[in-house]
Symmetry: D2
Subunit: 284 residues, 4 copies
């Protein structure tokens, strides 16, 4: 449609002139802005923006854009990320035994809906190895023994580093990650099978049935050391009724989970998500 | 469409032949069943049903139907309710200062969407008196002093009894009812401004903003002594984004609240809700 | 949960006593009804019902149930279908080049969500052959030449008969079936990529973009000789915005299509859909 | 929250530097941009933007902003609108006999949700006069005789001009407006009781029932000379089932209609809707 683009995700204290300053930075170097969206959080006094422009005709080579933007960012006390639309972030998927989210991601990967490379899938069980290998992707079996969880995490971290992974997707990975792992790993997206913050913790469908809710949901969020409490990227819900037994809730839930996880991964990889505090701004 | 009807809401231990037994009871007296819906809760071993039939041509006078049904119910260890579609249950609405749910109920009452009579509106504040009186309905001001909450509840209970109220609707009534009041009052429906069980308690919109959820909701439930924990009748949700400030969440929430409360009240009054345990079966 | 069951789907002129008559038929032979749902269409004077009971303890062998039910059905001028929950209806899937609906059905088949056997997939193109064969299912390539469409349809019909197919699922099969084919084939379910009856015909996403709608949809329906006009089984929608280009609408649409088609196929195979006139009653 | 603001809605041919040019225009005069959202329609080669800034500290008096912006707009071949958040656009509501949309607008007006003044309500019937007058708003009865439709429209136009009306809201006004009226009146918003373009024309709920759809909808759109074909502002839908008779569809539809119309009116009055061609961009 419009060739490769660069995207800046920026947050800084709210101040006069920031919209123009950022736009000018791009324009002065000949960049054609194709998307610019700004948000001011008045309660927190923060300005947040996403600017995307065509690289064609832009006078700075990619590797110099950051350097050129640095002084302006410093002046405005901004934190920022710079991404290129034709970069192919390297993705690792962690799984256990359930295949629905994994299969959905593999299909979308093949269909070109996921702008990135799935470089490996790691499972603490071996059941999904054939599925992954049939898709032409490497499967790594890293068992997690109760007695040696940190050993398993060390192997995972080593692999992530070796493979220069940019994003970890927990596609129904049923192990709790240690705060240390979370601190050292790249960005992690998890899918939780409830409409958070309802039904935190284990067996949310059983909790939902017990509570008699009329709607169930799923939540994709970035992983932080605090379980199920990271910044929410995307949620969705579906109606249920008394006719739905546990097995039906689980079945409906699987559809929600794979849709919500896939949307969150895509939003992240198209650089539409800006985390601030424990929340996200999704420039969708 | 089809004249006045009788409706039986029945629950009993699951056992062979119950569907036929109940249907036969109606048919043998010449009743034409226009709606029959059954549900078996296998985990709890309970059978639940709603049977509605035309009274025209039914050989038993209304006041004898219960007596005739009693022996069958006893044999099957059933608990049951019998309702007539042309009965006009007597409704009391409790309010504080917010008018959106009240106005919605008043309009629907006038539009014939609420199959019952609003016999009075009671407020712990006086602000809504003119609105209520303009609609031709009695407003009762019953202030609730912190020091004399039980006195206020005694006056409320007296009024409910005097006016033979069948259903109390809490339309943004911002007082917590005592367990004693709940035990002695007729059935009570409340609207909670969150997608329960998320954000129990006070200021759910502030909680929702803080947590960064992408969807907010509202929940109508029967009131039990435990706050915000009664059987859920109806829920609905709407998407929100980072652009929504607290005032926007509250505005969206008001629309949700009035829709969800109105639907719950209508479901109750058309005898479609069967409570069992802390859950409901909604025969919709 | 509850062993194999039998299900009767019945429609007859509305008349007194039908609910009891049908329930009695089951109960007298010792059947335990686990689901019975009735609907009266007052405008058309039709009674429609779905009764499901446990076969365990039922005194009639399966093959005699129809014979035993016949006289009652005749007396009530009923048309009816009898199904067994452990039957495995034989399914053929027709495809062209797009894989999203096909893959979704194959996964659900493997996951046990589709109560039937996919006996073959037939494509007018060969692109999807490897995908189908990897799933261990037979792929039949039946090209459809413009000049010899009826020849292709003859081969398809022969195959359907040979393989004793009960249900044909058009999973993005981009050929229009002739009325003759529709008349001679078993029940056919199609997925249409719009919220019918909006955007009938070709290129619905382009039509949607052109019209500037804020919501797009997908529709699963039984196929009748009249294009896009058969009884609707299931529909769903999703919000779109001006940011969505054609490629985004198509991407969102693919998710809708596979969900809606999968739900429709499952509703059909769990014997929850009763067609009458050009409409369906879905006992969900 | 943030004092009065100015908003520019601009569309021009897509060209390098427009984002920065518009932002600079505001910033150079000391304006603090609190919302800026841009959209490029690549297929049409159009750039569309909404910029909102705080008037506090802005160096140009309001009446000079347009003059100052003119040369830039001309240079970029832009068409544009300028609005102030504390302006109170003057609204006329047209009604016939149905009250649900009217009541909803009156309540929101009173609740401060509608940033404008309802200056009068005109009805071609008199039924709603008391409702309007109870709300303290002028009711004008302008009967529309079949033989003298143009006479009635002349009286309506005269009144709109006299009262300097900025926006006409058709709240279930059951008369078709002539192209001449549409050409001469200010902007008109209509609510159509279907999910357009499905069920254009009369009796959409009957059409929906006949077609057996599983979802019904409502559509708010600007009125153009071509019936039901103007640019869509907002749509929403709700699920229905075979249990819903015509009266139920109408009841569900009324809730949809008032929500969708109210949202559209608010979007328009907060200057979030930009019409181009026969479509809208909604900067929500």
């Amino acid at each position: 449609m419009h060739g490769p683009t660069a995207t800046l995700l920026v947050t800084c204290p709210d101040q006069r002139g920031v919209v123009a300053r950022f736009a000018q930075f791009v324009t002065e170097c000949g960049g054609n802005i194709i998307h610019a969206d700004n948000h001011t959080d008045f309660s927190g006094g923060r300005f947040l923006t996403r600017i995307e422009w065509q690289l064609e005709g832009f006078q700075l080579p990619r590797e110099e854009i950051g350097t050129a933007f640095g002084p302006l960012a410093d002046e405005l006390q901004a934190t920022w990320e710079l991404h290129f639309s034709d970069a192919r972030p390297r993705i690792a998927i962690f799984v256990s035994k359930q295949d629905h989210c994994l299969l959905d991601l593999l299909w979308r990967h093949r269909a070109g809906e996921i702008p990135g490379e799935i470089v490996f899938v790691a499972g603490n069980h071996e059941e999904l190895a054939p599925t992954v290998r049939d898709a032409g992707i490497e499967f790594r079996h890293i068992p997690v023994a109760k007695a040696d969880k940190s050993g398993a995490e060390a192997r995972q971290l080593e692999l992530l580093e070796q493979q220069r992974v940019d994003l970890v997707v927990l596609a129904k990975y049923m192990q709790i990650l240690s705060p240390d792992f979370v601190a050292r790993a790249p960005r992690i997206i998890n899918i939780h099978h409830s409409f958070l913050p309802a039904f935190v913790g284990a067996k949310p469908y059983h909790q939902a049935l017990e509570r008699g809710v009329k709607i169930i949901g799923a939540t994709a969020h970035y992983v932080t050391p605090e379980l199920d409490a990271g910044p929410i990227i995307e949620q969705d819900v579906t109606r249920v009724s008394h006719r739905d037994e546990i097995s039906d809730l689980i079945r409906h839930g699987k559809d929600l989970e794979r849709m919500v996880l896939a949307r969150a991964v895509r939003l992240h990889l198209t650089n539409r998500v800006l985390v601030y505090g424990n929340r996200t701004v999704v420039f969708a």
